[in-house]
Symmetry: C2
Subunit: 415 residues, 2 copies
């Protein structure tokens, strides 16, 4: 017997038929003798409906203060409805079940309404309820502040609350059900030979999550890693009875090392900025990053070089494409302070990365990567590396070609 | 400065424009220097949408136990949304406001989910918040049980929770906003001379409420009467700036006595049952009422008589027309036990009543009433009286005629 937390997102509980199907998946785990807690999102579309109400009223005037506390009070109702409906669907299958809201657990958070962080979970009542064989159906995404008001965890929050609840309940595993059946070696829409991985390490998953693979939210993976809680990613769309092994995200185990590269990730939401003819003086890079930090822009890849043309120092870095305008405005404002002649920018770039914990102990990955790109005449603008990944910035139009070339070069289609 | 509780039903907060309008009404009371708490229902249609979800899942099978706890958990979300939206609309008018859920007040109830009764309200936090000039926006209809789960108060529950909160907050008055502008001498759709009453006593209002005038829920009037809390009934539909005095429901005051009859009420939802040729023995009526109580049927008017035709004892009584089939089945089942020959029934009957606390000290009301009906050849089937009302059961097709005749006979069109 194990204790399992299962998490279902909005498309998995989109309507009553999907909720009935989810009840079947939950029933199977319970009937196998496990203690089960389920974390659910709002039915898809519901949060948007509620947010539209709030936005319309919010736009009425500039009077009054912040409204994030009431925003949370309102949108948290979406998960409240789903949790009650799933509890009913489970009872109608003859199982014991009850719903839990954030304040009933309680799941305590700070006061950062609409993007709150979990500060603690005390769940003796829920623990007891699970032990008695009652399935707990938890409204995800929500908590309670110390002054007794509802808070929500912000984007991706229900993954995070599922993992946090699993940690608090000392669960053996947290199963995240989504619309894909696991973590793939790369995006199957680009590479048809892409293969589902049986296992992946937390570290690799973190690199893949932050590199643009949208399956798991970064915060939830960090939390699982810090607490050594295995996460399984699997689909909620499988027909009853179909094998649905998914991908286990867990601590590094020995056999993982044999695989040098686990996956290829890409992101199109990148923009490149180059500052030309910089005064080459100490602290110059710090001034640039300070200007970006002040403008709330995250700098990703960064490289300093000498222009071949005029032998002046240049600095190239990348930001999210949505931040490009803001970044340029901040740089223009700090032009004298930083000391450069001109700004060049380009948001027609993509970042493509290979990730694998085997890279720690294997050499030759960079060589294989750059040869594969060179063979296709793909020019690399910027390179960034970590212990377990190599990322390159390339012209966007080569994105698919680069992903396919790298997937083939590392033979990721082979088990 | 007074402390006022304002209550708005579903049609008053049906959409964002109605919510903005309500915010204007609330703002006027607050800006006049009053401490204000507002109790709101779900946006109209929302509760039905949620109940439809529950009903669909509930119909899936006969397995599992009761689901009323989850029903309450789900439908309470409707009022949660409205309370947050109104708080935002108030802030956008530059006012201080915050929402309150049943569990945040807390409004304690018993465990009768979906029809819970209020067991107590401790509201020190809300009291303090109101004193600081913050408008409290309360989700109506909901409370919390002693094991920390959401309960709802059932039909008409938000009137009752508004009055209960007003009592707990020691409010000076509870204003119930509805789609009519007060309590009328009778239904204006039937009598165009019907007149809005400035004041009406609790006792009269209770008779009118239980006699079919649907403006205020009986439980809320009882609660106000027991706590001597004046209720004002007024419309939420008035344009800004229009006088909107409504009707004050309050303890009897001297000038009320001058008015013998305050109003004429009617109800078409009546059915008449006659048991023919009863064995005339002690306890016979008790056996009938016991059979009805067991079938959960409420018996209203009751009269025992001797049939002119065969000189046998007959018993005639009325039940709600929706209960007629159930009542007849229960009587048939207890036929031997009770001892009668046949059942006659008729659901083509209406109850028409005149109500007035002046009847306590004035004679001649019955005479005026029966003369007015006799003048129009309206036959009276059953009569029932209390200290402050006389009700008659008549053939349905004379309903409007009887109401108009009585309204004219008591000169209710005159102030």
């Amino acid at each position: 017997m194990a204790r399992i937390v299962m998490k279902f997102g909005g498309t998995s509980v989109a309507n009553l038929d999907r909720i009935r199907h989810v009840a079947g998946l939950v029933a199977a785990e319970a009937e196998a003798g496990n203690e089960v807690a389920v974390v659910v999102s709002a039915m898809s579309g519901e949060t948007n409906r509620l947010v539209a109400f709030v936005d319309a009223l919010d736009a009425d005037s500039n009077d009054g203060g912040a409204i994030e506390d009431e925003y949370d009070h309102i949108v948290a109702s979406g998960e409240q409805v789903t949790s009650g409906l799933l509890a009913i669907a489970l009872r109608r299958r003859g199982l014991k079940a009850r719903s839990w809201l954030g304040w009933q657990i309680p799941l305590m958070t700070d006061f950062a309404y609409s993007k709150a962080r979990i500060s603690g979970i005390q769940s003796p009542a829920m623990d007891e309820s699970l032990k008695s064989g009652t399935i707990g159906v938890v409204a995800g995404f929500q908590g309670i502040t110390s002054d007794n008001r509802i808070s929500t965890l912000g984007r991706g929050g229900s993954d995070t609350s599922a993992v946090a609840i699993a940690v608090a309940l000392k669960a053996d595993r947290c199963d995240i059900y989504t619309d894909v059946d696991g973590i793939y070696t790369t995006d199957p829409r680009i590479v048809k030979e892409a293969r589902r991985l049986d296992r992946i390490s937390f570290e690799e998953m973190l690199e893949l999550a932050s590199l643009g693979a949208k399956v798991l939210q970064t915060r939830s993976v960090e939390l699982a890693m810090n607490n050594d809680l295995p996460i399984r990613v699997l689909t909620s769309m499988a027909e009853d009875g179909t094998p649905n092994p998914g991908t286990l995200v867990c601590n590094e185990v020995n056999d993982m090392e044999e695989r040098v590269v686990s996956g290829v990730a890409y992101s199109r939401d990148e923009a490149q900025i180059t500052l030309l003819a910089l005064k080459d003086q100490p602290g110059m890079v710090a001034k640039v990053t300070a200007a970006m930090a002040q403008a709330n822009v995250i700098v990703d890849m960064i490289v300093q070089g000498i222009s071949r043309a005029d032998n002046a120092a240049n600095l190239t870095f990348t930001v999210g494409s949505r931040d490009l305008e803001k970044a340029i405005a901040a740089l223009e404002a700090a032009k004298d302070e930083i000391g450069f002649e001109a700004i060049k920018s380009d948001d027609n770039v993509s970042k493509v990365s290979v990730v694998g914990i085997g890279m720690r102990s294997h050499t030759g990955v960079a060589q294989t990567m750059f040869e594969a790109l060179a063979d296709r005449n793909i020019n690399v603008e910027v390179i960034a590396t970590s212990e377990i990944k190599i990322s390159v910035l390339i012209d966007s139009e080569y994105t698919e070609l680069a992903v396919r070339a790298l997937h083939a070069a590392f033979e990721l289609e082979k088990a």
